[in-house]
Amino acid sequence: MDGPSDRSSVAGVRGTPQVITNGEAGAAHPGRMRRIALLGNPNTGKTTLFNRLTGLRHKTSNFPGTTLEARLGRVDLATARPTRALGGSDACCGRDGEDGDGLESAPVGETELIDLPGVYSLELDQLEARVCRDVLVGVAAPRGDVVGVPDAACVVLDGTNLGRNLMMAGEVLRRRLPTVVAVNMIDLAHRRGFAISAEVLSERLGCEVVLISARTGEGLGELRRALGRARVSSRTPPGDDAGLRAWAEEVFATAASRPEGSGAEEITDRLDRAFTHPLLGVVLFAVVMTGLFWGLFAIAAYPMAWIEWVFTWLGSGVRAVVPEGPVQELLADGVVGGIGATVVFLPQICLLFLLISLLEDTGYLARAAFVMDRVLRPFGLPGHAFVPLLSSHACALPGIMACRAIPDRRQRLATILVAPFMTCSARLPVYVLLTSILFPKQPLLAALAFVGCYALGIVAGVLTALLARRTILRGKSRPMALELPTYKAPSLRTALVTTVDRGMVFLKNAGTNILMICIVLWWLSSYPKVGPPQEADALRGQVAAMKEGLTPLNAPIHWVPRTPGESRNARNEASAARQELELKWDEVSRVEAEIQRLETSQAARESFAGRIGRAIQPVFEPLGYDWQLTIGVVTSFAAREVFVSTMNVVLAGQDDPENETIRQGVMSATRDDGVTPVFTSATSWSLLVYYVLAMQCLPTLAVTAREAGGKRWALLQLGWMSGVAYVAALIVYQIAR
């Protein structure tokens, strides 16, 4: 089905999408799967419906403009089964007849579904509208699909706002595609007292109309059947704007009725006024965000402790079971230690996505965008940038993708440029490690330092935006207009699905990339095995001499009292001798520890990692990093979350079995001299600042290049962020040391 020759993607094409001529564009496509496009106003539940039908899990939220590119999914309309041919391995062919659903061949019902961005009108001069038009006329297709005109359109209308939505239906009907109209959110519409007659609507629109709720699943069976037999409408709505409006109004008046003024309006008014109030709005915003992040850290602390405990237990289990040697080291330090250091953060990452997803579903964010509009405007960013910047606090990738919703090109570029300054979840492990090193006994100060990191990222971001808007991206700002969606109770199901997905991505990354980096690093820092240094040899001789003739400590002491007086004397003598002996043994173990330290440090220095680290270290010398930290910083180049695992593996050699947790081991590590800690307070501050500001994420650079439309933007981002990070960390270290 997918001719690999003429694949095209709507995604990422800015400006006029490439026109791809396609021989088979037209109504009949022998041998090609039927294709249905989902169209409608923003925020009407297209993606929710799409996910329901196809079993995919694309992002939905109660904010207009969530979907910004065309997406492909498959569903078997006859059996109501998602036939996931995308990415999944379950085949989309050869299922004929196996379902015994009364249909003799399954592919009859097998259909491609295309989810499209929501638009207020197909004719707008807007990226989203262009994507829809191009898919509808068959000059562009979602990634992974052949270009071609869809066989049918499914217009998704919001049942609580039918009036305006009907205009969109009119626009689609005029295109003479087989059409089905789905009136969504019927659960809400009924609860709010709207009465909508599907029969009358269907009669007036000349096509099938189904009342559905994509959230509860109501009416979906009927919708699938209707989609299977979609026909071209017998009506032609007027083409001009005013005519279309009058037509929509008239259709609505005959087919539906709405409740007289309801209390809900009044409540929404009040909420809106509070949330956008110049002062109260900012306070509420601060409360919501503080609540979000406080909840994140407070709740995640428990599962994190459990996971940490499990990995510590696993580590000691490995040491107990596997015989001492390189294999044990690899398993205990490289695999369990390295992975454990990262996986501990799973709860925080899941929770972050869960809470943001719940928040997005309430409808609050559109209000917050206006609050932030006032704050961001002086820096040349629009309120539209708020949602991308907020989601960048979870991960910069979706954040940068969401920038497509920013209408003005220069503002969009500026936002893309600064989005990675926001503290993403990958930075959390580093912040947690460093703040707990800085303030091990003062959780309040640690929390403050943490908040400071978030603030520093935001400040650096907006100042960079200001600079960019004053120089390379100079231009007028476009005033903001945004539809404010109705407040809704968030869907826990959606939030959980997102959470599980993001958690899996994180675990998969830990199980593949991070595991590999840990193993490679373990190897690099364990080999080549070098002989002990001369000093160690000398000391060893000393120890041997000391031990000569020394009674072992655990040897029993024999004395037999003869008279009571003699007995006391003898006892005193014996205990004095005993003390002397203990002192001697103490000296022996001190020297032995010194030998051990010399050997580990020699082994570490002379390992491959040590040599590489020492070669690069001069670059980071001014920031206060020794070669071990340099290794950590360098391996973080592609993905910053690697840092904690790296440090864990690199410093593992000096690991003291007394340390109960992974973190303690890293905290007590020392430099080569065996005295100076690796993490002094000055280096920790400097590192913290470096990790807040530096660009250490290859995928982000790739997405920036794609979304901004050029590698130079990614290079600019990389150069600017790394430069700022270096200079800022330098200043911090020089002041703090």
């Binding site: 004719e123 009036g163 559109a366 005033p479």
Partner: protein, 91 residues
């Protein structure tokens, strides 16, 4: 600044949207905006003859629009946009 086509109807006693009081209703008369801004607002339902109710005055200006037909939608507008939309007070 081009006058948005389709957004103009002749009328006298008009005032700016920003000058409506909270809760007051009005009918949109005209808007002098950039063509693309005007087209977007029009498609959102804020067109000539649209009935609006001011939910919040100031920045942002929030209006509930109902195009005379079913349902309602709320649109938040930055001041530079709201200022340029002229309405006739509707009682």
């Amino acid at each position: 600044m081009t006058e948005a086509p389709g957004l103009t109807t002749q009328h006298q006693a008009t005032t700016r949207l920003t000058q409506l009081k909270r809760g007051q209703r009005g009918i949109v008369v005209e808007a002098s905006l950039d063509a693309s801004d005007a087209a977007l607002l029009r498609a959102m339902g804020l067109c000539a003859a649209a009935k609006v109710r001011l939910c919040r005055a100031g920045e942002p200006c929030i209006v509930a629009v109902d195009c005379g037909c079913g349902g309602q939608c709320r649109i938040g507008l930055a001041r530079p946009l709201a200022e340029r939309i002229m309405v006739r007070v509707d009682n």
